[in-house]
């Protein structure tokens, strides 16, 4: 099988991920921070080490400001519900994933004003449009993705964060498609809240992810419960990470994520980005030669991550994906990619697109085979 669905979740994982999970379950699977015995301490050490690795990856000085979450969606909900109150205004974009769009929709019904800045049909964001939205009234938060999960277009994070701060707003970044592949430095880029999944480009198992909470942000916990600290008090503790980590964490997954981060560090994020830019270039160059095939997005590998959305004339995206899988063993994702807003922006709603997303283990040959298969389909009327 050729796996081109890394935007959904990365596959395969580095072998060390499964090994560390097995090792953790066999030797360290106590409840971290809850007891003084050897297993609890071993688990605590694994959780702390992974937290430190994440902090180092994102340029976070204090690892305690990284809280673990189930995935990016969970982290985004913790951030949005924990921060925004009725009367607040949030500015966002028109290419967001439902992980941002749906919480904001729910909050709009509870008295939070949502201003959505329209992106262009290639997914790019015009900073003047953002400025206009920011100037139209007080803003509590700017929330946007780092790169579109549909067409891969990278948004100008630094500039957007700077503008948010100029208007007294905080900046929340959804790094679902970028964490692990694009360099992210929360301080240098001005990120106040960073939501990231562990199971995509960070190469960890599903059920992992996290949220960075900047020093100028105070989130009200959505969940209260055991933290292993201040147990005598009924009130949820204020300290991070405990305040936002009620309940036993996914230690098994976190152990796997730690191993994945080790692999990332060893191979080097810039090397992975370079590999993916090369694959994207090869893919886009090949796609451009296929008659009847349309690429959505910028078509510029330097301005996007390795997520490429296409339409094929005469074919429904859902049938292209099924034909690629059934006749060629190529796994891609078709449809709306949980981002109907983005597809409206790209003009591909409601049929959606076919999304090909190579990853750090994809080879040139994988890309060539996908191109050959698409060429065959393009020659065949559906």
């Amino acid at each position: 099988m050729i796996y081109l669905d890394n935007a959904a979740t990365s596959f395969p994982k580095p072998p060390a991920v499964a090994e560390s999970i097995v090792d953790f379950l066999e030797h360290s699977a106590g409840n971290p921070g809850r007891s003084g015995h050897a297993l609890a301490i071993a688990a605590q050490a694994v959780v702390a080490a992974t937290r430190s690795q994440l902090a180092a990856l994102f340029g976070v000085p204090d690892p305690a400001r990284i809280v673990f979450a189930l995935n990016a969606t969970d982290a985004l909900n913790t951030a949005l519900w924990g921060l925004l109150r009725p009367g607040d205004r949030v500015v966002t974009t028109s290419i967001e994933h439902n992980a941002v769009a749906r919480p904001l929709h729910a909050m709009a019904e509870r008295g939070i004003e949502v201003t959505r800045v329209a992106c262009a049909a290639d997914g790019t964001l015009n900073l003047d449009d953002l400025d206009r939205a920011l100037r139209s009234g007080p803003v509590r938060l700017v929330a946007m993705c780092h790169a579109s999960n549909v067409c891969g277009t990278i948004l100008p994070v630094r500039e957007a964060a700077q503008r948010a701060h100029e208007h007294g707003a905080l900046f929340l970044l959804d790094a679902a498609q970028t964490a692990g592949v694009l360099l992210i430095d929360v301080i240098e880029m001005g990120i106040d809240l960073l939501a990231f999944p562990g199971h995509k480009a960070l190469l960890g198992p599903t059920g992992t992810g996290g949220l960075y909470v900047g020093p100028s942000v105070r989130l009200t916990p959505m969940r209260q419960g055991g933290t292993g600290t201040r147990s005598a008090e009924e009130q949820q503790p204020d300290e991070l990470p405990e305040a936002l980590e009620a309940g036993t964490p996914n230690t098994v997954g976190i152990a796997g994520l730690g191993a994945a981060l080790g692999y990332l560090q060893q191979r080097g994020q810039p090397a992975i980005r370079a590999h993916e830019v090369a694959l994207t270039t090869r893919l886009i160059d090949g796609l451009m030669d296929i008659p009847g095939l349309r690429i959505h997005g910028t078509g510029d590998p330097a301005r996007q991550v390795a997520t490429v959305s296409v339409s094929l004339e005469g074919w429904e995206p859902v049938d292209v994906a099924a034909a690629l899988d059934s006749s060629f063993g190529i796994a891609v994702r078709s449809g709306l990619h949980c981002a109907p807003l983005a597809h409206r922006t790209l003009g591909t709603f409601p049929r959606g697109t076919v999304r090909l997303s190579p990853g750090c283990f994809t080879t040139d040959d994988d890309v060539d085979q996908a191109l050959a298969a698409l060429r065959k389909l393009a020659r065949t009327a559906a």
Partner: protein, 351 residues
């Protein structure tokens, strides 16, 4: 007064079932056993609706009907419990069956379930039955029912009809061969004709359902020595009739021999997935396979317009567009209901 009412109702009951209880193998005691009996009818299409009709008239006390489909006009030719009003309203078959039985015999309790029988719910249904009657239209569900019945030790009666032919077999776990002893592996997906592709005569359906009901009645009244042994098969058009000897149990049978319930454990059943953002469901076969698309085109051409290319075959069935791919998966557009998609897959691709 009270005693007199009771006496009157008993007399009425005697009258209602008089011709049946006068039959030597039933008698008043047998009739009472039928009244206390609980039958599960899985699938209420042609076989199921005829069976429910007969069982209700026979005075079986409780009939549970599970079916995922809705009545359509093309059903009325053979599904004797339903009428034009049901088809016009698109009433769920289980509900239409319950309403019809209420008019036929109000003493019978019908428990209708509009549901797909799946590895998750089949045991709950089977566990509450004395006998299970097969009214399904696909092999996959039969293997599942066989797994559940063998596991729980509940007898079931297999029945199937297509064209002018019919088949039936009574399976008593621990005594007779089970369905999987007889058919160790399912026919390849897409290889078998279905009633929707090859057609079916009401006469063959009604004959099979009648045989199934007679077997159910034998089981309920406790006359096991009279049960049909082995496979009964016939063709009402060519007048062939076959009564295969009772096949011995296969000690290596994965189901009743080794008690590995692969269908119940959902190891080999087809899988459904709704497709993100589309009014469509994907149904995949449980095992990897390679379909002969050209053969499938020939089969489906009887049902209506079919288009195809090297990678897919597409047909239109009412509001649904079914696209079948080389590995046996199908994308069914026009529904988000997994049960509807499974049903269409069973009817047009065949499981």
């Amino acid at each position: 007064m009270k005693r007199r009412e009771q006496a009157t109702s008993e007399a009425a009951e005697r009258d209602r079932y008089s011709r049946q209880s006068r039959f030597w193998a039933i008698g008043p005691a047998g009739q009472e056993r039928l009244r206390a009996g609980r039958v599960l009818v899985i699938g209420c299409g042609a076989l199921g609706s005829v069976a429910v009709n007969l069982l209700a008239r026979a005075g079986v006390g409780q009939i549970t009907v599970v079916d995922r489909d809705f009545v359509e006009l093309s059903n009325l030719q053979r599904q004797l419990l339903f009428d034009e009003a049901d088809a016009a309203a698109g009433t769920p078959k289980a509900i239409a069956a319950a309403r019809a039985v209420a008019r036929i015999n109000s003493e019978v309790e019908v428990r209708p379930f509009v549901a797909d029988v799946t590895p998750i719910n089949v045991e709950q249904f089977v566990a509450r039955a004395d006998v299970v009657l097969d009214g399904t239209d696909n092999f996959e569900t039969r293997y599942l029912v066989n797994d559940a019945c063998v596991k729980l030790g509940i007898p079931w009666v297999y029945g199937g009809a297509i064209g002018s032919t019919g088949m039936s077999m009574t399976i008593v776990p621990g005594e007779t061969a089970c369905f999987r002893c007889l058919f160790p592996t399912p026919p390849p997906v897409g290889a078998m004709e279905t009633c929707d592709t090859a057609g079916v005569l009401a006469a063959s359906v009604v004959t099979v359902a009648a045989i199934e009901c007679a077997e159910v009645m034998k089981l309920l009244v406790g006359d096991r020595t009279s049960l049909s042994r082995g496979l009964t098969a016939f063709d009402v058009w060519t007048n062939d009739h076959l009564q295969a000897d009772g096949k011995l149990r296969d000690p290596d049978c994965p189901c009743c021999g080794q008690r590995r319930f692969e269908y119940l454990d959902a190891l080999v059943t087809s899988r459904t997935a709704s497709l993100c953002g589309r009014d469509a469901v994907q149904v995949s076969p449980g095992q990897p396979l390679k379909l002969d698309l050209a053969d499938l085109v020939r089969k489906l051409e009887a049902t209506g317009p079919v288009t195809s290319n090297d990678y897919l075959v597409r047909c239109l069935v009412d509001r649904h567009e079914i696209t079948i791919f080389a590995d046996g998966r199908a994308i069914i557009k026009g529904t988000t209901d997994l049960a509807v998609a499974r049903s269409l897959y069973a009817r047009y691709v065949g499981t």
